[in-house]
Amino acid sequence: MIQFLDNYQSWLKDHTYTVPKNTVLETPIHIKLSDNIQYDFHVESNCELTFIVEFEPLSNHQNQVALSLDIKPNSHVKYVLISEEKATKIAINQTVNVSENANVHVISGFLSQALDVDLKVNLNGQNARAMVNAIAVSNDQQQQTVDVHLTHYAPYSYGDMYNVGISNGYGRVTLNGVEKIEKGMKQANAFQTLKGIILSDYSMVDVNPILLIDEYDVKAGHGATVGKIEDQQLYYLQSRGLTKIEAEKLIIKGYIKPILDEINDQALVERLEQTIYERI
């Protein structure tokens, strides 16, 4: 089932949603999806808009979700993908295709109990740009795996990802970032940063940053860290009167706030923050 919180549902035909060219929207297209579904979103050329896509399944059963987003030339899309607690077991397959001179900013927050995300972003045209941010937060026995593939199929393309995994209790988060530059795709830029934060002795975060580059004339860089919050940071904040818990929250907020601030829906941001702070 698909549900539109605002207008814009008239662009939906069967399982294909098409935003006509030259559409510039101030307010986001806010969509709620439930249960096993498959949808294709198309954004025609010269558009500028934001999607907010949330999963809210009707049952606790394993949910399969397959979505694709095609962005035509010169369009700028912000794509917010949220899977909250209510979506207990979920597998998300998301593909994003970016044409020439188009750009996408994918912001995703994953808070489901058992979650498997496969996010593929393909830069198909010259000057295509993608920024991907993913946050996964787990606690108790929750297991979350987030795979992000960013592939450069065109020269002069730009891809960057900054993903954060936070784990508490017996939680487990796996972040895989694979960025690939195909042969001949000169002047491509590929960057990635993966951060894992463990908050308890039994929690785990796996981060695997991978760069596959088959071309010489490129710029690329990656970095990954996993660890507990630094003692000296905690000490510093505590020395100004913050309790240890307040200090931890503030430091974690520092990791995720820059990402959440990009979501232009205050109520949603507050709800996400609340769930995240409950888990940490």
């Binding site: 003692d231 009167g241 520092g254």
Partner: protein, 258 residues
């Protein structure tokens, strides 16, 4: 009137004995300069008072108005009125100076801090210390130069108004102009708020701006000599060698030794 009393304080760092029995009493409005060669334990005293987990107190007592400071967690010490301007403050990416400062003020004062009042006084303090105007929105110490970090420590002191401030080598890394700004600013604050100060330094220059009421010389983990401002001049002229000779103590410069 508040009183901080340190008695026979012994501190280890990684099992190595650094402070070997420090006694010091500081009252509101007093400025105690602690001077001494490198590696004699001055900064260890500062860190141990604040409760840095790397420093282990093995003996002695510290009380603030009768309350046992050593029993307190780091944040409890801050809320009791201790402030440490650190030599190497940590960077905290993603946390803006203003968010942090407002939360710290709420924590130490126990009261909610009105956003507009806060913004006004914070901006005023930033101007006083001649810091970048966008400071409030920059992340805490991230990408700050050495001098900016030191000034940010003093800015926090100005906002938090503690009972006792420990200033750990706030003069290192400051150029002549920055030193004057920081020196003036701290000295104004003390005049206004009458808090007690422990000022740790091995340069005399900062003492041109912040005039100590007491001067202590620390050598090899102990305060070996206490006096007034006349000691500063003597150190300025003849270094610390005369102290050794006068008191007949033998010590080696720990840092040079390492």
């Amino acid at each position: 009137m508040a009183e901080l009393i340190i008695k026979n304080l012994l501190v280890n760092v990684e099992e190595k004995s650094i402070l070997k029995g420090v006694d010091l009493t500081v009252q509101s409005g007093e400025i105690h300069a602690i001077m001494g060669p490198n590696g004699t334990g001055k900064s260890t005293l500062a860190s141990a008072l604040m409760g840095n987990p790397k420093y282990e107190v093995t003996e002695g007592t510290v009380t603030l108005d009768g309350e046992d400071v050593l029993e307190m967690e780091v944040d409890e010490r801050a809320r009791a009125g201790l402030f440490l301007a650190m030599q190497y403050p940590a960077e905290v990416p993603g946390v803006t100076n203003s968010d942090f400062m407002r939360q710290a003020m709420r924590a130490t004062s126990g009261k909610d801090v009105n956003l507009i009042d806060f913004a006004m006084s914070y901006e005023g303090a930033i101007k006083d210390l001649k810091m970048r105007e966008d400071l409030a929105h920059r992340y805490l110490n991230e990408g700050f130069s050495g001098g900016e970090r030191k000034r940010n420590e003093i800015l926090q002191l100005k906002m938090l108004k503690p009972k006792f401030a420990i200033l750990d080598e706030i003069d290192s890394g400051l150029d002549v102009d920055a030193l004057r700004i920081v020196g003036h600013s701290v000295s104004e604050m003390i005049k206004q708020d009458q808090f007690g100060v422990i000022l740790i330094t091995h340069y005399q220059r900062i003492l041109d701006y912040i005039k100590p009421t007491h001067v202590h010389i620390m050598i090899d983990g102990k305060i070996v000599l206490t006096g007034g401002q006349e000691l500063i001049e003597k150190i300025d002229q003849s270094g610390y060698e005369w102290v050794k000779e006068e008191l007949g103590i033998d010590f080696v410069d720990q840092e040079a030794n390492q």
